[in-house]
């Protein structure tokens, strides 16, 4: 089997560098296999997050050759063979150690968003009647594995560090899932405009490009939510009606 050169980020925020490791790569190896091999044979204390190694839990997010990827779904044979493979931590979050970042901000943002609010059950057994056609739209958003690669690549967070003003694509997908749930009665439009800062997104679609679940984040989640915000806040007729009836507007 072929020896491959890896350059892996080692260290914390104050002190760190890319270190070089030579790894014996076997057939079908993904990047996470190589990292595990380095851990087992060369660097027992190399910090890396992972759980399922099957693309389902979204733990092993990193930047492979500069691109945000799940390490468990990135096959080594799909990467250029003539240069070292670099593996670095996500840049949009504070570094803890080596490949592990502090993603707790994402959990705080999610907890701040108005929760799911179902209507009363339709049936005596406590169930709801919903059409497959109606559930399919939010089901796309529920595929999200919370790998936060979309947050990592989003320039509002990555380059401008507006974490206190902008919730990021993951959370717009989360809001879209509730807003489009057929039995939800919540209204998060004002929240989207104010606290979650959806207006800061200028739809460059970087998030959609990196989503390992193939969720059409920008077109199917963010743009429809932006439209709701615009309809509510900036449509003069709706605003007038809202002011008269006391509904909507804000």
């Amino acid at each position: 089997m072929a020896m491959t050169t890896f350059k892996v980020w080692r260290g914390d925020t104050d002190n760190g560098a890319l270190e070089t490791y030579e790894v014996e790569v076997e057939q079908g190896y993904v990047v996470l296999d190589a990292i595990h091999r380095i851990q087992a044979e060369q660097a027992h204390d190399m910090a890396v997050r992972w759980n399922c190694k099957a693309g389902k839990c979204g733990s092993c997010s990193a930047e492979v050759n500069g691109s945000p990827k799940l390490m468990c779904m990135t096959r080594i044979e799909d990467l250029p063979a003539d240069q070292p493979i670099t593996v670095e931590p996500m840049r949009a979050f504070p570094l803890l150690k080596d490949l592990v970042t502090d993603v707790s901000w994402n959990y705080e943002v999610k907890a701040s968003i108005a929760r799911f609010a179902p209507r009363k059950p339709d049936n005596d057994d406590g169930s709801w009647t919903m059409d497959q056609y109606d559930v399919e739209r939010p089901q796309e958003f529920r595929k999200c594995i919370e790998c936060f690669l979309c947050q990592d690549v989003c320039h509002v967070l990555r380059d401008h560090h507006l974490h206190d003003k902008f919730a990021g694509p993951r959370h717009f997908v989360y809001v879209a899932n509730m807003e489009m749930n057929p039995i939800d009665t919540g209204d998060r439009v004002a929240e989207l405009r104010e606290e979650l800062g959806i207006g800061l997104c200028n739809i460059t679609k970087c998030c959609t490009t990196v989503c390992p679940e193939g969720i059409t984040i920008t077109d199917n989640a963010i743009i429809p939510l932006k439209e709701r915000v615009v309809d509510r806040s900036y449509d003069p007729l709706a605003k007038l009606i809202g002011m008269v009836t006391g509904n909507g507007g804000d």
Binding site: G28, D33, Q39, N51, C52, K56, Y107, D125, K143, N177
Partner: protein, 606 residues
């Protein structure tokens, strides 16, 4: 005393997969203060990997279904070693537990009239698995997570528990460290719920994530709890076999539920041979009848690919052993063939099995809508676990300690039916939360001696003080254990191999006790792995000891030196407990007689 932070709660829940989250939600709903401790980030636990569905007799897809049929199916699948009271409660309560998830935001696939749809699975008489494509586990854990974060839980992410703390005989909390900085933590609680999942990482080929190191089993055992049915480890018949790096990753039973067939290198559907007597009357005679069943013909019987997992796994091993396997040592699982029956089968497969399509495309370069997959058995689930009282889920010998989900034993007997794990964790997660909160309300605060905390701290930090270069390192030692268990305690076992395995485990224990981790306390997986080894070795010993005692083949436990199933061995379970000399002891515990009404149900269902 060692420097540590202290947290006090009415109830702590160790583990935040489906069972732990459901338990925490229930306990918090009573007004109890609840701490939820997870080894990973919230929402990453192994439940995310469950694919096919959650079993509940909703009777949406076939109105003949009800809890009694589900109960009888579960008992038959478990070869009647199940704790019948658990199987009964499970079948009765699963429908409500599934329906309430939609009130918390879940969105299951629908029937044409807008109800929750259900699919066929092995051993279930009717289509019974509520599902979302093949990502049902993700739907469940995310639903519980998104509901749970608004229920006032104190969530401690990336925290590992190394020891249970005791107040006399009563469980009084847990000692832990955080992965980030290696800070030591003491949790004091009036009730403790164990929900740590399974033990799959004790084996080389497994569908389980890194967390599945049997922590809950081992922590409870060390605290004086009993383990039951530990010889029964489920080898799921269909894991990926190629390329080597993905070996063991799960291929959902849903593939067969949607019409997938198993064939050997001669192109033969070998599952039509050797139908077990318990299932002869309910299995199709011809491929044509099997297909009619898949598309919902109520007069047709199940195709043999939907027999129970223990049987299918053994049949696959037999084909491979007799030289009729696929190129990489498995057999073929073919869903592409349904194009003979379904127009636009490609879109149909992608809709019904999106993760499988993605997984094979990305990791093996195989398009499952066009080509067959190669599959073979993979370690998937442990039926055995902490022995609990059926209604309350409290450990039989440790007051204040509760267990739910995979780390609890008894519900599934000798073999679990697909889909019954997700329903198990909902039903018994809720019950554990409810009874633990009640226990906490009825009991006084706990007191934990400083000496316990000092000892726990010393044990947790010891690997960092030992020489890391003296042995092969923690990862390689874990690998040696996995290879041993795969070889000697895997899908085919025999007396001599099991005895050898016991000796080897003792030697590995000594080496693990001397293992140095190297590095610092800050996010150091080498240290974490060294500590995990202790749990893995305890559960491995339990599996091997119980397997050696059961001198018959039943359910998931196959002995090549005792191939037959012996009726007199159907009357008891194996119970393991730490003896007064510190050694693991195994004993037989007679199964209590089933009440007449439940006997009648089993009789009626045939």
């Amino acid at each position: 005393m060692a420097e540590h932070q202290t947290f006090e709660h009415d109830v702590i829940v160790i583990g935040a997969g489906g069972a732990g989250l459901r338990a925490a939600i229930e306990a918090a709903s009573t007004g109890a203060s609840v701490g939820l401790i997870c080894k990973s980030l919230l929402g990453k636990a192994h439940t995310v990997m469950a694919e096919g569905g959650v079993a509940a007799a909703l009777a949406n897809a076939d109105e003949r279904d009800n809890w009694k049929v589900h109960f009888a199916d579960t008992m038959r699948g478990g070869q009647y070693l199940n704790v019948w009271r658990m199987a009964q409660v499970h079948a009765q309560e699963a429908p409500d537990r599934v329906r309430e998830l939609e009130g918390w935001g879940a969105l299951m696939d629908r029937t044409p009239d807008g109800r929750i749809n259900q699919r066929n699975f092995g051993g279930h008489a009717y289509p019974r698995l509520a599902h979302v494509g093949d990502r049902t586990g993700l739907e469940m854990i995310r639903t519980l997570q998104d509901h749970g974060i608004h229920e006032g839980l104190d969530v401690h992410m990336e925290v590992t528990v190394t020891k249970l703390l005791m107040d006399g005989d009563r469980c009084a909390g847990a000692f832990a460290y955080d992965r980030d900085k290696g800070r030591l933590m003491v949790f004091k609680a009036k009730a403790v719920i164990m929900a740590t999942g399974g033990i799959g990482r004790a084996f080389l080929v497994t569908s389980n994530s890194w967390e599945y190191t049997g922590d809950g089993h081992a922590l409870a055992y060390e605290a004086g709890a009993e383990l039951v049915d530990m010889e029964f480890v489920q080898f799921h018949p269909t894991g990926m076999v190629w390329p080597p790096s993905v070996r063991g990753i799960l291929v959902t039973e849903g593939v067969r539920g949607e019409g997938g067939i198993l064939t050997n290198s001669e192109g033969k559907r070998f599952m039509f041979d050797d139908i077990p007597p318990l299932y002869q009357s309910s299995t199709a005679d011809t491929p044509e009848e099997g297909w009619r069943y898949v598309i919902g013909d109520r007069d047709a019987r199940r195709p043999p690919e939907l027999l129970t997992r223990d049987h299918v796994a053994r049949k696959i091993v037999k084909e491979v052993k007799e030289g009729r396997g696929s190129p990489h040592g498995g057999v073929f699982l073919d869903i592409a063939w349904i194009k003979e029956h379904i127009k636009d089968s490609e879109a149909h497969i992608k809709k019904k099995l999106p993760s499988m399509y993605h997984q094979f495309k990305e990791l093996a370069g195989i398009d499952i809508t066009k080509e067959p997959m190669e599959v073979g058995p993979t370690t998937h689930y442990v039926m055995g676990g902490i022995r609990v009282e059926a209604d309350s889920q409290m450990a039989t010998t440790v007051p204040g300690l509760f267990a739910a989900g995979e780390c609890a034993g008894g519900m599934h007997g000798a073999n679990r039916l697909g889909g019954n794990s997700l329903s198990d964790l909902l039903v018994f997660g809720k019950r554990a939360g409810e009874y633990a909160a009640r226990y906490a309300a009825d009991h006084s605060a706990v007191s934990v001696g400083d000496d316990q905390i000092d000892l726990a701290a010393q044990e947790a930090l010891a690997p960092l003080e030992r020489d890391p270069g003296a042995d092969v390192g923690p990862y390689r030692l874990q690998y040696e254990l996995q290879a041993l268990m795969q070889d000697k305690a895997g899908i085919a076992r025999e007396e001599d191999g099991l005895t050898e395995a016991l000796d080897e485990i003792q030697k590995l224990k000594e080496r693990a006790r001397a293992m140095g981790a190297g590095g610092s306390r800050e996010y150091n997986p080498g240290w974490h792995t060294t500590l995990d080894l202790a749990s893995l070795l305890t559960v491995s010993e339990a599996v091997v000891l119980a397997a050696r005692e059961r001198k018959e083949s039943r359910g998931a436990h196959s002995r090549i030196d005792h191939l037959e199933k012996k009726p007199e061995w159907a009357t008891f379970n194996h119970v393991l407990k730490k003896g007064s000399d510190g050694e693991m002891e195994v004993r037989r515990e007679e199964i209590p007689a089933m009440p007449q009404d439940l006997k009648d149900i089993i009789e009626e269902q045939g």
